[in-house]
């Protein structure tokens, strides 16, 4: 009976995670192409990756997207959570509005932002013209294209951070704040001395979750810039897709995916180690907040 209960997820785990992972690993040491067979070429694919400018750029981009995007989303989400938390009326409605971007399929997000940022007839260009500024080539300039992706990712996922941090704020105990206020501490001091440290475990868990998702960034880029111009906005997932299925170079694409997986695992582990360290230091209140948060980590009680 008890074995039956847990059998399906384990079966899925082996059939659709482990076997394909091994399969991909196997592919990555061959030169298999789509529709054709391949032969064993050892670590050649991996060797080639490190001299492939496209790959290196994609690798760097992926990490930068995670670092910049998640950082921006964290601080904005935290600010919003503090703002909304201090409101007395209209919390529910505001919350719903803040969450709206998260509910829109990334594909639609991509299209909408593509038109918004269009340098000829997009409203952002319109705004620049209105202010007598030179319209900016948001999507066709390599650097600006990259910035655009970060902005859009931030637009869509700040709500997620907000949600987790807002939930975290609600679980903090009242007493330290009241005590600090009685002692005459400024809001700023209270935030840095109490709110922020106590929210730290929740913050780190939120950052971890968002980072893991961020590493998979694909659809927004696919629709807004398609990885261009000249690979300037590529991510590893996007490259893997183009290499494997568009160019049909399955072996090489597989090697890219494996590197992506390794990167995610290494960075996730690093973040986890940091989490453990900080958790060991965090006081009991923070610990409880984390427990509570981990008990309900996802946007379940809001809307």
């Amino acid at each position: 009976m008890k074995h039956l209960l847990i059998a399906p997820p384990l079966l899925f785990f082996f059939a659709i995670s482990v076997i394909p992972l091994l399969f991909t690993l196997g592919l990555s040491v061959t030169n298999t192409s789509i529709g054709g067979s391949g032969s064993f070429i050892g670590l050649n694919n991996y060797a080639q990756l490190f001299s492939d400018q496209f790959f290196l750029r994609g690798f760097l981009n992926t990490i930068l997207y995670v670092v910049l995007g998640v950082t921006a989303q964290y601080w904005l989400g935290l600010g919003l959570a503090l703002l909304v938390n201090s409101m007395v009326h209209g919390k529910r409605l505001i919350r719903l509005l803040i969450l709206l971007p998260m509910m829109i399929p990334p594909l639609i997000v991509g299209f909408v932002w593509q038109t918004l940022l269009d340098s000829r007839y997009g409203p952002v260009a319109g705004l620049f013209t209105g202010l007598h500024l030179k319209p900016v080539p948001w999507l066709t300039d390599p650097t600006l294209g990259f910035v655009s992706i970060v902005i859009v990712d931030t637009w869509q996922w700040t709500p997620f951070m907000f949600l987790l941090l807002f939930t975290g704020l609600r679980t903090l105990p009242k007493e330290p704040f009241e005590a600090a206020r009685v002692d005459g501490a400024s809001s700023w001091r209270i935030f840095w001395d109490h709110t922020f440290p106590m929210l730290l475990p929740a913050s780190i868990a939120a950052i971890l979750l968002r980072s893991i998702e961020s590493f998979k960034l694909f659809d927004i880029v696919f629709f807004i810039t398609g990885g261009g111009p000249g690979g300037a906005t590529n991510t590893l997932t996007l490259l893997g897709y183009f290499t494997s299925l568009r160019s049909g170079n399955l072996g090489y694409g597989a090697a890219m995916s494996i590197i992506l997986l390794l990167t995610v695992v290494v960075l996730a582990t690093l973040i986890l180690i940091v989490v453990r360290r900080l958790m060991a230091r965090a006081d009991k209140a923070g610990q409880q907040a984390l427990d509570q948060f981990l008990a309900e980590p996802l946007p379940v009680k809001v809307a």
């Binding site: 703002l83 639609i108 997000v109 299209f111 038109t115 809001s187």
Partner: protein, 283 residues
């Protein structure tokens, strides 16, 4: 309430309004674009219907006319795959979560926590890693572009999440309540059906909603594993845009359609998630 950040009220409202504008404007833009003619788009940017441009129903005529079958197919497939796979993921996830919460497992060195970790860790794996292999495997067994294949893929994609969310919900249901049902004369299955599942309702609703979201929003799996008959709405929209010049007005209209089901799902399931079902059962 705990940590009031004492900025002046007006500052707070201004900051919120700035974010609100940033968050809402793209949605507004999408909605008005759906009522523009091609000409209005390329002469734009026009922001205000009736002032800048005359709303047109061109896009909606396409949606309910010429493109109706494609859109209906995409919408139907998306709805079918998302709702069915979410249901399967929640049911299987609930069973596994119940097992992990209530029984002790030991498979070689693997105990309950290791098993949970194995299952949940799949979420860390970028889909691209599996999807190349899945593509080959699905092609070999003829699951490419099939509804069954897509439901299978989405169930795989969501199962770690539902197990993760539900294990905790199951753990929070006091064991005594289940025992009470046994005492009252009900067998294990009835205990789970009549007592455990209703008490896990907020978790089930949340897990279903998230699974539905993720499948509904998925692009990469559908992109790789379907090409025609089983195309989901995102793929259908992509195909529309791929044809020469993008018809923003049409894509925006379909975009509006694409937001409606997840919104409805939120509104319907929100009631179940808010409920504090466990309150009052025990001391």
């Amino acid at each position: 309430m705990q940590s009031k950040f004492n900025l002046p009220k007006i500052t707070r409202w201004v900051l919120l309004a700035v974010w609100g504008l940033f968050a809402i404007f793209p949605v507004y833009w999408m909605i008005i674009t759906a009522f523009k003619k091609q000409r209005d788009i390329f002469q734009g940017p026009f922001l205000f219907p009736f002032l800048d441009f005359t709303p047109a129903t061109q896009s909606w005529e396409r949606v309910f006319g010429q493109d109706r079958d494609d859109i209906l197919k995409g919408l139907g497939n998306s709805l079918l795959f998302s709702s069915v796979s979410a249901l399967i993921a929640v049911v299987l996830g609930a069973f596994a979560a119940y097992g992990l919460a209530r029984y002790t497992y030991k498979y070689g060195p693997y105990r309950n926590n290791d098993l949970s970790f194995l299952i949940v860790s799949q979420r860390i794996m970028p889909p691209i890693v599996a999807v190349i292999a899945l593509f080959t495997m699905f092609r070999t067994v003829g699951l490419i572009d099939s509804p069954f294949g897509m439901i299978l893929a989405y169930t795989w994609f969501n199962l770690p999440l539902t197990v993760f969310i539900l294990t905790d919900f199951m753990k929070r249901i006091p064991l005594d309540i289940e025992h009470a049902a046994a005492i009252d004369g009900y067998k294990k299955f009835a205990q789970i059906w009549k007592v455990v599942l209703p008490l896990a309702m907020p978790g089930l609703a949340a897990a279903y909603l998230l699974s539905f979201f993720f499948s509904w929003n998925d692009f990469i799996l559908a992109l790789m594993l379907t090409f025609q008959k089983s195309s989901t709405l995102p793929i259908v929209i992509t195909n529309m845009s791929a044809q020469m010049e993008p018809r923003w007005w049409l894509i925006s209209a379909v975009g509006i359609l694409a937001i409606i089901p997840p919104m409805l799902a939120v509104i319907v399931l929100d009631r179940f998630m808010e409920r504090q079902v466990l309150h009052g059962g025990t001391r």
